[in-house]
Symmetry: D3
Subunit: 195 residues, 6 copies
């Protein structure tokens, strides 16, 4: 069930993939989300990245419908916990480092790698659609709070898009993309479990 | 001086109040802001609100130009530190409570007051243009990290807009707005120092 | 019941909080509204403002759906009839003075009060989201025809948002906003009848 | 010279074909236009249409820059004064009949002619880009006040676009468009004076 | 039946005149269209224009829903096959000449006729909402592939809008528009068959 | 030098990273591009992909400024010429197969690989920001004409973004992204020549 409370919002933004909730049934809880409060287990579940992304987008908080924003919490293991290279189709990301220190980077369309360390309390911006990543470079676990100018930013991890898609992307396409051979492609693909 | 680094951003978003910085001169520092790291002094300067808003918008971080997002930190004194009723002309706000507990609220165009407490780690959303406020309701200082889907959200505090504008809004207009008399209006206005 | 006639409009603007009316059932009446033709009674109903706003938005004229415009008529009593300080969340307003003379004003986010008299036949513009007001300053009743770049501009009167919301905004929040005390707040609030 | 007053507007809307005026130099006159106050001479200048359109767009009122609205006044001679078939590339039009009675119409992309009479005080909407027209059908001169959801709506009269362009559109193209022969095309074109 | 496959697309673009197809039912065929592969019969059906437009918009390819693009193929008879003057309400057109040579043109709002020949392999751009046309000027049939920045561009042919609408646009309105007399208008109208 | 011809376009779209060309200096050549007419050399220059993309965006055709569209031609060697996995930050792509047969595919954010063969004359759509690719699967060279709903779509090839950026993306970040080890990363990176 999706809702779009406050009828003027639905109407004025004139929109909707999601059905609206009648304005008179809306409560403050429709605009609240508590799921970012706790640290995620960055070591559990055979997690190979050392990071966990917890999402508060319109699919979890229906009240975001038509409002054009969403938020995520990322937990990182110390020394190397990594949110691997990915892009958001529909949003710029503005990331605030709540705990620890991150090294962050994005790559421009002309191939420049824009990177630096961001200490606790610092913020960094990843322009819409650009490949970017973060990894923890401190002794303590790191936590980021990221916001997006979309209620559903869309996330595509590059490794998973190439090697984890189902059915598989043809081996020779990936070999050309990485300028390598089919054996390397298949050895990498073997680690990814298609969803 | 304003800049718009990374030429594809300027061009693709096709835009600009602010002049662009040539792409080859752009560095990672153009996308970084450290000014939200420290707590502001919520007691200083005769501050009557018990809160301080520290802003990271395109005027402070020129690299936000064309990117459609910005961020603020709000510090609140314990028990009652208040970010008074205001609205943002150009953005929805998504607020994350980093420390303490806030009571937050907004008023819809049909006059409903949507309000609740938001504990540490919770988030709340204020739809674009709606009057809203927050106040600390815990024993410790509170801190919020807010994000906006605009590089320059625009903020208008209702009290200051009515009573602190220069030249002054006519007394009888304010008296009608508040359904009171001119004496009350003038006594309130005396506390506001026109900018 | 809402309608969105003319199927290419629905489809091309790709949108809808409101269900569409099949194109073949659309008539010219779907694009017509007669409700702004007559003067409203600016003295009736215990009206404390001396003004009445008559609205032609998508809620009254469903044919505006997806079209991005709407209109209002405002009638003002002579000498002081006031459309009190308010803002529109989703639209700029362009106001044409059809009868009489108005003093109009808006307050910028930096606290400047931009104000002047607008005679019959003059027009004035209120930028999106800014607090603004008009009052009659002539001997005859005044009439304004206002247009908006939204089918549902959204209106929030500052006095009513602060003092007329239900449940009530906390007294101390309003006291801080106006830099006054709770007694003044309560005496003002007593005049507002919660909806 | 163009101006964009009030710096937050420029910046927040992040935009500009027109240079900005520094915020501190802005006055209320930048948001005011008096040029729609008087009736135009619908009989003068060999005017073959019996109507005159007076425009308040960003080219006449630079303060409209970035604000997304504009307005026009149309004066019509009694009994047949006609604003001939035209379209606006960038805006929906919402027309208010201030004096007299108009017959108005637009043609949809599926070839339906949506038409009716609009008496004094009525309003009618012409969807973006659709061919539409108005003509006076009363004994007194008519006046319309039209608003647009664009600061520069763009107007193209169909007759002038086909027959008055310079250099001329090829005769055979027009003959095919009207399913007529070159002689008819040339006889029509002879009446249009290329600009 | 309309579909909007791939749920993130529906949701993120937050939109819809058309109902969505559940993401799990989407196939590659939803994004494919084969209907532009063959030449149309430019001589058949009493076609007076010597051209045929074959459309791949959201009404034929529902998978375009929310994606903001569409495409057309135009076939032209040699020496004079003409796509007569028309405009698209919701899109700029970028036209690629796949076969033959076209003379193309559009008319600006200030009455300039921008025209040139476009050989095979060349492209030309028609700005949104402007009246434009193409005709074949070579010995072989011509073919154009046109793309639009809208899933449903909307097309209005000027001749048909004026003379082929039903019910008919008043004769005197058209006579004024073309600065001609009613007899000429009626003789042209007689060739158009109302839909 | 950039230009934005036809002043109403500049003004109405109200925008510009690129300076405008005065309307009176505009010619039809400003809207024409001939650079897509010839096949590119898909074997030259040590090209490892067997494909060449020729671009007609606002950087090559300044007249596209503010118009929201652009086009590309892609030439593919027979049997395997590949436009490797990439994404466009700012545009949906609609691809028309002018010669040969392509196998095309994109990967959704939920990891589905949407793929099929597209014969000559067929079209296929790649939603905004999604990773996609094409490769020739026929005996003859293939040619695609692609259009975009942006004047500057922005292209990021996944292989180059990960392995060809300068300075290099950290080895361990890439190793985690591909769930492989540093040796494999370095052996792949060795083939990429940083720009």
């Amino acid at each position: 069930m999706r809702l779009c409370h406050v009828s003027y919002v639905c109407a004025a933004l004139r929109v909707n993939g999601y059905p609206c909730k009648p304005a008179e049934n809306v409560t403050a809880d429709d605009f609240f989300y508590g799921g970012l409060a706790s640290a995620a287990d960055v070591y559990g579940g055979g997690n190979p990245m050392g990071s966990v992304v917890t999402v508060a987008d319109v699919e979890r908080l229906p009240g975001l419908n038509t409002l054009g924003v969403s938020m995520s919490r990322v937990d990182y293991a110390p020394w190397g916990g990594t949110n691997p290279p990915h892009s958001h189709q529909h949003a710029t990301e503005i990331l605030f480092v709540a705990e620890g220190t991150l090294q962050v980077g994005f790559v421009t369309t002309s191939g420049r790698h824009i990177t630096r360390a961001v200490p606790k309390g610092g913020l960094f911006v990843f322009p819409r659609g650009m490949m970017h990543y973060e990894r923890s470079v401190g002794e303590a676990p790191a936590v980021a709070i990221s916001a997006f100018d979309s209620q559903l930013p869309g996330t595509q991890r590059l490794g998973e898009a190439m090697f984890g898609a189902a059915p598989g992307v043809p081996t020779d396409v990936l070999a050309r993309a990485l300028q390598t051979d089919g054996g390397v492609v298949e050895s990498i693909r073997a680690k990814f479990q298609p969803k």
